[in-house]
Structures are given as C-alpha cells and as structure tokens.
Amino acid sequence: MALDGPVLEVRDVAQSFSTEGFGTRLIYEHVSFSVTAGEVFVILGGSGCGKSTLMKQIIGLLPPTAGSVRVLGHDMYPGDDRGDVLTRIGVMFQSGALFGSMTLLENVMLPLQMHTDLPEEARVALARAKLGLVGLADSTELLPAEISGGMAKRAAIARALALDPPLLFLDEPSAGLDPVTSAGLDQLILDLRDILRATFVVVTHELASILAIADRCLMLDRGAHGVIALGDPRALRDGSDDPRVRAFFRREAA
C-alpha cells in the first residue's frame, strides 16, 4: 500500500492517569513524531516511561489526554473509521495476548477468518506459513498454555502478521528470546520491510536489535515526562550530548 505522506502522525500527545484521590500522574506530554512508509521506527526508554502506553494510544485503545493521532491517514480519536484502519495494522502486545482457548494455528487463523473470504484450506496454509516465518512450524497444534514465553511472543508476532498489514506495531518482540532467535526476528522485520514495504513501529530495549533494525528511534524518559531524543540511533549513540541518552547507549547505570 503506497501511501503519500506519513503512515503515522503523532501530534503533541500527552497522557496522565488519575491517581487515588483527585490527583493525576503525568506520564508524558508533548510527544510528536511521524513515521513514513517502509521505515522501522523504534520507541525506547527505561522501564515504566510509557512506551506501551504510547503504543496503546496510537492503535486507538487509549484516548490521549491531549493531542491527536493519525494512522494511515485516519484520525484515531474520534475513531469513526477505526475499524477500517484496524484491519490494516498488525499489533503484538507486550504480554502476547494470545487467545488461551485456541491453538496457535487457530489464533493466527482468526483474523483471516474474520476479514477474508479464503477457503478453510487456504486459511490453514496461510496461518502455517506465518507460524513458519517465526519458527513455529512444528508447534501449530499447541495451546498458548503449552508453549514457552519466547514461543508465545513469536506466535503473537505471527498473529500480527496474519493479514500482511502495511503497518505493524510490536511491543518488545525480542524480550525473553535467545540472541540467535532474536537476530532471526530482526532479519524477518528487515525482510518484510524490504519485500513488502511494511512499516514497523517497534518497542524494544535490545541495543543490538535497535542498531540492527532502526532507521530512526524515539527515546522517552520518565523523569523528563516526554521525548528526550529523536533520530538515527547510530548518530545518537555517537553524538548525543544528553547524558541520559549516552547512558542508555553505553549501558551505563544512570
């Protein structure tokens, strides 16, 4: 899907949660960025800085306290045509969020069943192919409760890929994976980007992975309540004069 202009536009977004009593707790504010088609965009930052929250906001699950989000040219809030957008994005949640009462194959087949008219045989073949891409070809008949944590992550990625969406959101896809599988996943992301011109928004902490896949990255900080860096990760690693960014890329304790 060649789209003119950015596939994702986040303008001045803020999020705060109400605390017990009548207070509010600000997570971040003034977050703005845009992602163009075919880009791998990485969101990074310390634990608890709001990466998953930002992702939920972008995909339309959590209205921002302020600001606006446009995905594939549609406003997500108010999301009158959100249903149309949702079939064209793939999302992998940090926890995997596989359906516990379905096998891996059924999990991946579900979006195909709901959004296409493919015959049963084709759905099975497609779902098997997606599971094969993430290295789970031999576990298709297992239930989520019967697989390891890393396998659940990969199955969740396969489900996000089910419809070959042009825009994918992955929340910590390689957390809990061994370096070899993790590198394989990075290669898969790059291949899909190159072959299908898919766009990726990836939340990750893995430095190696960031440097391998990211065209640009956005760094959030809990203390700063917002963005502290935006740009090419290699340039940030070598040239940033923000001590927090330097500490992150050099794996120093802040």
Partner: protein, 364 residues
C-alpha cells in the same frame, strides 16, 4: 482489486497467469481454482506468470507454494518482483508440520484408570486438608486472618440480603401452597408445624448451602483457578509456603463460620414469611408461636445448623479443590467454577441423605 487467474499452454508448459493484488483478501477468489489447475497432470513444466501482479505478499507466496505442492515439482516464476524469491525462500525454509499421532481409543482399562485417578486425587486432597488442619498451629503465620475475614465478609455478610429475601419468599410460598390442601380438612393451623419443621431440618440448611455453592464455591474455584493458571500456586510453593494452609483453610473456616449464621437467618426469615400467610388466614402471632414451640425441638434447630456447617465445609472444600485442579488457560477457570457449583450441590445432597439415615438411627 482482487487477483485473477487464467490458465494457458505455451510450448508444452502450463502457464498460470496472475493479475491484480495477491494478498489475503485478493487471493480468496482464486485459491481453489489455482489448486485445481496445479493438481491437473501436466506434460511439461508449470509456470506462474506474475507480470500483471500489483502486489504479492506472504499470502500470494503461500498460494504459489501451495500450487507447487499440488504440482509435485518446482514451479517456474516469471515477471515477479525481486523480493518474492527471498520471501519464497523464507517460507520454504520452515520445516513441514509434524504428523499428529492418532489418539488411542477408549478402553475399559483406560476409563477405569481415569476413574481411579480422579478418586485418588479426591482422597489425596482430603488427606492434604487434614494434614493442613493438623499442622495449622505450627503454620499460624501462613494462616492470614485478613484473608479469613475478607472471605467471611464476601461469603457471609454480603449474602445476608439475598438470604433474607429468599427465605422470606420461600416461607411465604410454602405456607401458601400447603394452606390450600390443609384448608379442606380445616387443618390450616398445622401449616405452622409443617413449614417450621421442614425449614429448620431440611430446607434452611440445603437452600443456604445452594446459595453458598452458587455465590461462593464458584468464586473460590475461579479465584484459585486463576492463581493456578498464572502460576501463583507454584510461586506459593516455591516460597516455601503451603497453598492448603494459605488458601484452602481460611476459606474452609470462613464457610464453617458463616453457614450457621446464614442458616439461622434463612430459618427466621422463612418463618416470618410463613407467619404473614398465617396472619392473613386469621391466626394471631401468639397462636403461631405456640404451634411452633409444640412441634419444633431445639434438636431440630441444632441438627439443621450442624448439617449446614457440614454442607458449607463440603462446598468450600470442593470449590477450592476445583480451583487447585484447574488445567491451563482461561477455559479451565470456567470449567473449575462450573465443577465447583455442580460438585458442591451433588455433595450436599449426598451428605443430606447420609445425615437423614444417621439422624434416624440416632432417634433425632
């Protein structure tokens, strides 16, 4: 724009000419046609012409691989975009799915073994509860009072309005239904005897226990089942703690504690409901009270309360057991809750039968 397929022969080779978008939605219309075309016996090679294809993603690639498998040999490609070969390579690299081993059929021995294992599990559980009870004094620290109080509050205090309402209505209905036939013999005054005896001895404890099974037994099973699914039970064990003492005993004690009180309330509100009918029939409260006192002995009341405690213990124990025995996944939690209610009700009726025989032999 959906994909289209046309089949032709060129120099002995069969050519599948695709056009349009070969994504999941696009190939829906041509999947069956493609498979059929690929499966037909071919003299020469099978070639896919993709020159007119706007986009071919993993769905399209899977279609081509499916055709290849049907054909039984490699499929030639022409006019494809550069990336497609890489994509096909990636998809081909996945190992074929394992062949499922057929499940063995049911035999008498396998069924018997299953039944024995279930029975053994139940007996082992009773043993574990007994051990936990015996060890409770030395494991006082694991027995958290706050847990006990919270459970007693949820199982008991919060059930009071429901118990009062149901008891009142049941007393009312029983009295009304029995007044009609008794009236024909001029024996309406005995409605008081009938309702109070049946409430105190049977209906009070049974109905209260049914409510406990529905409200609380299922909640125990769901709560503990969720903990099991989330590996919290395993975490309790690895922390050197005993799930029996930490989870089961407080719930058991809470049920033992609240059941007599709830049953008493059920009895009282039932009798109140009955008196409303009796007064409508023209009997004074004094007359009703005298009638009740003549028929009901203290033994009836205490026998009923004792039964109620046993029912409560059975419901709580079965609820916890269903939770602890829950399998994996969200469906298991639902099954545990269902099992808790069904098991609790069956167990209390069986127990009631046992008590009926026992009380009869004891001359109560």
């Amino acid at each position: 724009m959906s994909a289209t397929l046309s089949v032709s022969t060129e120099d002995g080779a069969t050519v599948l000419r695709f056009t349009g978008r070969m994504d999941a939605a696009g190939i829906a219309g041509i999947w069956t046609q493609t498979m059929r075309a690929a499966a037909e016996p071919h003299e020469g090679a099978l070639v896919a012409d993709l020159a007119g294809v706007a986009l071919c993603d993993t769905a399209g690639a899977t279609l081509l691989l499916g055709a290849e498998a049907r054909h039984g040999g490699p499929i030639g490609l022409r006019g494809q975009e550069a990336g497609l070969d890489t994509l096909l390579d990636r998809l081909r690299r996945a190992p074929p799915p394992p062949q499922p081993t057929p499940a063995p059929g049911w035999t008498f021995t396998s069924l018997a073994r299953l039944g024995l294992r279930a029975a053994g599990g139940g007996i082992a559980y009773l043993g574990e509860v007994a051990v936990a009870l015996a060890m409770a004094p030395s494991r006082r620290r694991m027995l958290r009072l706050s847990d006990l109080l919270r459970t007693a509050d949820e199982a008991g205090v919060r059930a009071v309005p429901l118990i009062l309402m149901l008891g009142f209505l049941i007393g009312l209905i029983l009295a009304f239904q029995s007044a009609v036939p008794l009236q024909r013999f001029g024996a309406e005054i005995f409605v008081a005897n009938l309702v109070s005896v049946s409430l105190l001895r049977e209906l009070g404890p049974l109905l209260t226990a049914v409510i406990l099974a529905g409200r609380t037994g299922s909640a125990f099973a769901a709560e503990i089942g969720t903990m099991k699914v989330n590996e919290e039970i395993a975490a309790i064990r690895t922390l050197g703690l005993d799930p029996m003492t930490m989870l089961v005993l407080p719930r058991l004690l809470a049920a033992l504690l609240v059941m007599p009180a709830l049953t008493l309330l059920m009895d009282a509100s039932g009798i109140a409901g009955m008196s409303v009918v009796m007064q409508a029939l023209g009997y004074s409260p004094d007359a009703i009270a005298i009638q009740i006192r003549q028929t009901v002995a203290l033994g009836d009341l205490f026998g009923g309360l004792f039964k109620a405690m046993m029912f409560g213990a059975a419901v709580a124990a079965i609820g916890c057991r269903c939770g602890l025995a829950a399998g994996n996944g969200p469906r298991a939690v639902g099954q545990a809750a269902t099992g808790a209610v069904v098991g609790g009700i069956v167990a209390m009726v069986l127990l009631d039968g046992v008590f009926a025989v026992l009380f009869y032999l004891l001359g109560w």
